[in-house]
């Protein structure tokens, strides 16, 4: 079953294109496309807002310390066009996010993909890379 699921996810990723350049600001001046990060944690807040939808997750490190991360998505209307609904992310659910770290060292990242515990995965409308 596990193998079948991963095959399914891989298949879906072939169908869903990566989505650059949907921001109102320069991506490269805010995020570093060369500093990718994978974060897994529990959703603590969802902001279905403009110009970017955002969500926040608590990430626990190996020593048990918890850090809250601020994760940027595309705008709600761009996410809609990518197939998202605003209930895709729910407070309390466990997610894995792949994205690009903020250049200024804050606990922020621009999400490229968001994967739920059940394997559902969405492109996040990242504007990376946007040169």
């Amino acid at each position: 079953m596990k193998i079948k699921l991963s095959v399914l996810v891989a298949g879906l990723s072939l169908l869903v294109p990566a989505i650059p350049a949907l921001a109102h600001h320069s991506f490269v001046a805010e995020y570093d496309g060369k500093r990718p990060v994978t974060l897994s944690g529990v959703v603590t807040r969802v902001e279905w807002t403009n110009p970017h939808a955002r969500f926040y997750i608590d990430v626990k490190d190996e020593n048990g310390n918890v850090t809250n991360w601020n994760l940027e998505l595309a705008s709600p209307i761009a996410l809609r066009r990518l197939g998202w609904t605003r209930d895709f992310l729910e407070v309390g659910s466990v997610v894995t996010v792949f994205g690009s770290l903020a250049k200024d060292g804050s606990k922020m990242a621009n999400a490229r993909t968001v994967t739920l515990a059940d394997g559902r995965k969405m492109e996040a409308g990242s504007s990376a890379p946007n040169k």
């Binding site: 891989a10 990723s13 072939l14 169908l15 869903v16 294109p17 990566a18 989505i19 650059p20 350049a21 949907l22 921001a23 109102h24 600001h25 320069s26 991506f27 490269v28 001046a29 805010e30 496309g33 060369k34 990718p36 994978t38 902001e47 807002t49 403009n50 110009p51 970017h52 955002r54 601020n70 940027e72 595309a74 705008s75 209307i77 761009a78 809609r80 066009r81 990518l82 894995t96 792949f98 690009s100 903020a102 250049k103 200024d104 804050s106 922020m108 490229r112 993909t113 994967t115 492109e123 409308g125 990376a128 890379p129 946007n130 040169k131």
Partner: protein, 266 residues
């Protein structure tokens, strides 16, 4: 070459295919840079079929419809010049362009795009015989009125982001003449400036149902040494609508923006 790549839908699809293949998140692996194809997310909404130019009852081309952005009006307007041409910036305007930082980009601060800059979102033309309206989903959530009733430019208004537009038909081309701009907006993400002397002439054509072509002539003797023309096109978009995008709602980006995201070629 770069411009040709960006304009080619075949290349865009190839980039999509490559990115899709490499999209699996692997810890520690550097993501490939993707080529900045701004239109990719809207690709599936581009009209697949085209037909003859639609016309209104009076025989004029009907430009009404939902249109996509032209990628060359997003980042650097020099990409929309004729190949080999350069923007004729006056020395002070070149200096200012180099000095401008991305955190100060009006669009990053949810301010209006002005003309001819676009946001990577949709816009709609609503055409009537006496008035044509452009509705922008995200420029920022703005509109333009093109008065077609033969009036001249107003003289009783202050300079503004979208200026004062009057239009007329020259054959099958809609010619829009706009003055009365303020000097606040940037032409693009690079920061190309203008002054209140800006005069914009846009020439719109719909050669078939699925495509809008337009040339934008920028005449600003305050910032450029001569007029120049940008060559643009927008695809017809289907199966979606313009939706709300009020950028000022939760704009957290500006305080995290460092330096300059786009620079002009030396």
């Amino acid at each position: 070459m770069k411009k040709d790549l960006a304009r080619s839908p075949v290349t865009a699809l190839a980039v999509v295919a490559v990115l899709s293949l490499s999209a699996a998140p692997v810890r520690g692996q550097v993501q490939p840079e993707g080529g900045g194809v701004a239109m990719v997310s809207l690709e599936k909404y581009k009209a697949k079929k085209s037909g003859p130019t639609p016309r209104t009852a009076d025989g004029k081309p009907d430009l009404s419809g939902l249109w996509g952005p032209d990628p060359n009006l997003l980042g650097d307007i020099s990409h929309a010049l004729k190949p080999g041409e350069q923007l004729p910036l006056q020395p002070w305007a070149l200096k200012l362009t180099k000095e401008r930082l991305s955190k100060d980009d009006p669009m990053a601060n949810c301010q209006p795009s002005g003309v001819p800059r676009m946001a990577p979102y949709l816009w709609k033309i609503v055409q009537t015989p006496k008035l044509i309206v452009f509705l922008y989903e995200a420029n920022m959530h703005s509109y333009r009125q093109i008065f077609m009733d033969g009036r001249g430019h107003r003289k009783d208004t202050d300079p503004s982001s979208y200026g004062d537009s009057i239009g007329k038909w020259e054959g099958d081309t809609l010619v829009v003449d706009t003055v009365g701009f303020d000097d606040k907006f940037w032409f693009d993400g690079v920061g190309h400036p203008h002054t209140e002397k800006l005069h914009v002439i846009e020439r719109f054509r719909r050669p078939d149902s699925a495509h809008l072509e337009f040339e934008v002539t920028i005449d600003d003797p305050g910032a450029y040494t001569r007029p120049f023309t940008l060559f643009e096109h927008s695809p017809l978009m289907v199966n979606t609508e313009i939706m709300e995008y009020f950028c000022s709602e939760n704009n957290q980006d500006v305080s995290h923006i460092i330096g300059k995201g786009r620079t002009i070629p030396e």
